[in-house]
């Protein structure tokens, strides 16, 4: 599936509308950046409660396709600007990372 498909299915607010054509091939949920950078696969949808600028850096480094910021948290404007430059899609979800992960799993991301 693509970023577009995830946006449509998850029903979360689109904070940054990035490259919708990117493939999403798996998912990862974690707030420790070192874990994410070590273990998330390129093309992942990443569920996290982190909202600062390094989320974009980590996503770019790993090749994350879409970031879902959970628990109703929102990013600072500099993060939004940076993500837009990187064409990285960011969603805001009111759900917990657990629920978001469950939804992504149900969509077929394994």
């Amino acid at each position: 599936m693509t970023v577009h498909d995830v946006i449509e299915s998850l029903g979360a607010e689109v904070a940054v509308d990035g490259d919708r054509t990117r493939l999403v091939t798996s998912g990862y949920a974690c707030d420790l950046l070192s874990e994410v950078i070590a273990k998330a696969a390129p093309g992942s949808a990443w569920a996290t409660i982190q909202t600062h600028i390094n989320v974009v850096a980590v996503a770019a480094m790993v090749g994350i396709s879409i970031v879902v910021v959970c628990e109703g948290r929102t990013c600072e404007s500099d993060v939004v600007v940076r993500a837009a430059q990187e064409h990285l899609t960011i969603l805001y979800s009111r759900d917990s990372a657990y629920i978001v992960s469950g939804k992504l799993y149900t969509l077929g991301l394994r």
């Binding site: 707030d31 420790l32 950046l33 070192s34 874990e35 950078i37 070590a38 390129p42 996290t48 982190q50 600062h52 600028i53 390094n54 850096a57 980590v58 770019a60 480094m61 790993v62 090749g63 500099d78």
Partner: protein, 309 residues
């Protein structure tokens, strides 16, 4: 390897730059005065198992040295009851407390003595350096060097732990300069783009940039955000060197353990400081050398082989 080459290697590596004569020397030194008897020197050498005794004046200024060979001569001539003053060597080759490790090694090479007195301003004796002291100092230094591969042994044999190529040039260079964590990761992002432009494969690029990111984050979290990130990329090999000016890693073995970190709670809340930085680097690099220590600069060098995949 000649001594000159060894000294040159030491200078290049900067491995023992913090070692001066005052940190190498033994300070529990026994000395005699010129008016003491030769017999007293003989007794002292036998009891303390030492092969030379420095001679000092009333103000502890070095005025001579008496060695085993001088004692043997005095014994043969029946002069054990004479004063030390009459048999001691007056032209003493001594080191200064601030002399560098290179100077110390050069001294041992040039003069072939087993020991050198160490003096401070005014010629006051403050210690002695034997070859055993030098060896002990080297071994102590290696407690602050971590080499994560078979080069651990090579390092100790020939001091060749770090790549020489960085001396002259690097294919990629980025000055890390970050006041907070805002720009953290910028250098490794650029490195990643650079490596991709060089045509390296996706996997080795990912490994190299992930490790560079971790090292860069460490500079931002622990070293005030000031440092350098350089890389050499050629012939299927990527060498990445990240350096900062300290405060250094006090215990590298601990820092290599997963989950161990000295980061503050504020840093941890941002998702950093999980104690995974160096363990991740070890996991993803094919060779890793870290040189650091308390209040010292840190050098992290990582090598990634494209054909390992």
């Amino acid at each position: 390897m000649s001594l000159e080459q060894n000294v040159e290697a030491l200078r290049y590596l900067g491995l023992f730059t913090s070692l001066d004569a005052s940190s190498v020397m033994s300070t529990g030194v026994h000395a005699l005065h010129p008016e003491d008897r030769v017999a007293a020197a003989r007794t002292l050498m036998r009891e303390k198992s030492i092969s030379g005794v420095p001679i000092v004046d009333a103000n502890f200024r070095l005025v001579g040295i008496i060695s085993v060979s001088k004692i043997i001569e005095a014994l043969a001539d029946g002069r054990l009851a004479d004063s030390v003053d009459s048999v001691m060597t007056r032209e003493v080759i001594s080191l200064h407390a601030h002399d560098t490790f290179e100077t110390i090694l050069s001294c041992f090479q040039r003069f072939k003595f087993g020991r050198f007195p160490v003096v401070e301003e005014g010629g006051k004796l403050v210690g002695m350096i034997t070859d055993t002291d030098v060896l002990s100092a080297i071994i102590r230094s290696f407690y602050s060097v971590y080499v994560h591969d078979q080069r651990r042994t090579v390092t100790i044999g020939s001091f060749s732990a770090l790549s020489k190529e960085f001396e002259n040039s690097a294919d990629f260079a980025y000055d890390i300069s970050s006041t907070g964590l805002e720009n953290a990761g910028e250098g490794s992002a650029r490195l990643k783009a650079f490596l991709q432009s060089k045509g390296f494969g996706e996997s080795v690029v990912r490994r190299a940039s992930v490790c560079a990111y971790e090292a860069e984050i460490n500079v931002c979290i622990h070293a005030g955000g000031k440092g350098s990130l350089r890389a050499i990329a050629r012939d299927g090999e990527i060498i990445v060197r990240v350096e900062d000016e300290g405060p250094g890693i006090e215990n590298i073995d601990l820092a290599m353990k997963e989950g161990w970190s000295t980061a503050t709670d504020a840093i941890r809340e941002l998702g950093f400081g999980a104690g995974m930085g160096l363990p991740n680097i070890r996991r993803f690099s094919d060779h890793l050398v870290i040189i650091s220590g308390k209040d010292k600069a840190t050098k992290v060098e990582m090598i990634f082989l494209a054909d390992k995949e």
